[in-house]
Symmetry: C2
Subunit: 281 residues, 2 copies
């Protein structure tokens, strides 16, 4: 597996890098960002995967969230994939919420999407294998994300509780089967059979989970998508009915932007560091 | 003076806003950003003005530097102007280092620039008057900036030591009369007479200063512009020869990007907060 380094920047005593590689899963070139904290020069560190929202690439989070400061303090690496396959030969749609920039962290089964749109397998399997083979990291993993990426983080952690020590989300799409963004994307990528949607719906998954990593969700009350697309109360109710206790904090005044993410990313990195550095029972 | 609010976002317990207004000095509409820390809801706070580098608008610093966290902690407002006049009727050049995005914080005297390119007067006079009349701030001011904005901060503080309590800069152009960026811009904006350049050259100004606010400069050693355009050693030597003691810290590995600014902005906000909250003698 060839890794091409595109960016290499000192940041809070560590290194903020960006790499490109050929993804076999996505059948295209793709880029991801890696932040290595200062302590990674001496020892392997655990990894927090970050999944971004609609329209983003690997750049938005690393430029805007200010997470490196906290990752440096806690000795955690950050790994940030793109949000979809890319390239001229990759199918797209004329909308911001379908196609490029809108992979929804699933494996598409419908045409024309099924060949390249396989972000679930990329994030769960190919990317961690690549990262763990090429960087000074351990196999202790956590996952977080924003909006569409919060959906991805919750789905991936709920389906793979043995692979992720903790999960968190900012303003996540928690019930894609019940909101316009999810209904549109799932119909295109997965088809009309709503049974097939359940494996990518965090509210469905948590209702039947037998093991759940610690869950932290932060949500702004002035978020313009709160009532139409996000609806965290649906997830909380389903989780509590199933006997789980996700932490959901609502924040007056905050909207859907990276200013919200930046304001609370320190709390999330601390949440993950606690799980990542805990002795496994 | 009419202020139109374009953005209003909760951030670290305070508010990151962007406003547009008609500038009499620049003879065009211009935008600036204001961060008000949480404590500004209770009392007036001092202001740190931030001047950005080539190609930037008021957006870059507020999205990428992560300064709001520190401004919230220290109770300091941040005010960030654009880097030049804007608009279809404003002259421009086909280069990133002249015209729009490259105002160099001076008052141009040559055509076609002299009507609109008056960023010095805008930053020193019109903007503070506007800010102090419309926001919960005191008249305690500090100024900082990056690259071209570091040049602006040093020049403005050295020429107005009674108006600014402290000054700092990241990777500043300290001797524009001696480097290509400065020679090109000053020739266009100020003409061929190098005597006229001295009022906008921090290395010239510090040599004849009779009063100097506390100066902090950080510089990355892997900065691609260090030897050709920045040359902080020229400023340090001139300042020390004149009996001043600027703090200049060099940082191995760091480049010219906002990852460098983000890594050390906390130190700069603390430097300014100390001066801004000191009792005036």
């Amino acid at each position: 597996m060839q890794l091409e380094r595109l960016e290499h920047r000192a940041c809070f005593g560590g290194w903020q890098d960006v790499y490109r590689h050929r993804s076999h899963v996505l059948d295209c070139d793709t880029s991801f960002a890696v932040y290595l904290p200062p302590v990674a020069a001496q020892k392997a560190v655990p990894v927090l995967y970050w999944l971004s929202g609609l329209t983003c690439t690997e750049q938005n989070f690393i430029a805007k969230a200010g997470a490196q400061r906290y990752a440096a303090e806690h000795g955690v690496a950050l790994v940030v994939p793109d949000t979809s396959p890319r390239g001229e030969h990759v199918p797209d749609a004329d909308n911001y919420d379908l196609g490029k920039g809108a992979g929804f962290y699933l494996n598409a089964t419908r045409e024309p999407w099924s060949r390249h749109y396989r972000m679930y397998d990329y994030v769960v399997d190919e990317l961690p294998a690549l990262v763990e083979a090429n960087f000074p990291v351990t196999d202790a993993r956590a996952v977080s994300g924003h909006s569409m990426g919060g959906h991805g983080a919750l789905v991936i952690a709920l389906r793979n509780p043995d692979r992720y020590r903790s999960v968190s989300a900012f303003a996540p799409i928690v019930a894609p089967s019940q909101v316009p963004w999810g209904e549109k994307a799932f119909t295109a990528y997965l088809g009309d059979d709503r049974e097939a949607w359940k494996d990518y719906d965090a509210t469905e998954l948590v209702a039947r989970a037998t093991q759940v990593p610690p869950i932290l969700i932060d949500q702004g009350e002035a978020d313009e998508f709160l009532r139409s697309q996000l609806r965290p109360e649906l997830f909380k109710a389903a989780a509590e009915k199933a006997g789980w206790s996700p932490q959901l904090a609502m924040h007056a005044g905050y909207d859907h932007s990276y200013y919200f993410v930046a304001s609370f990313i320190g709390k999330h990195v601390a949440h993950h560091a606690q799980a990542l550095y805990a002795e496994k029972l």
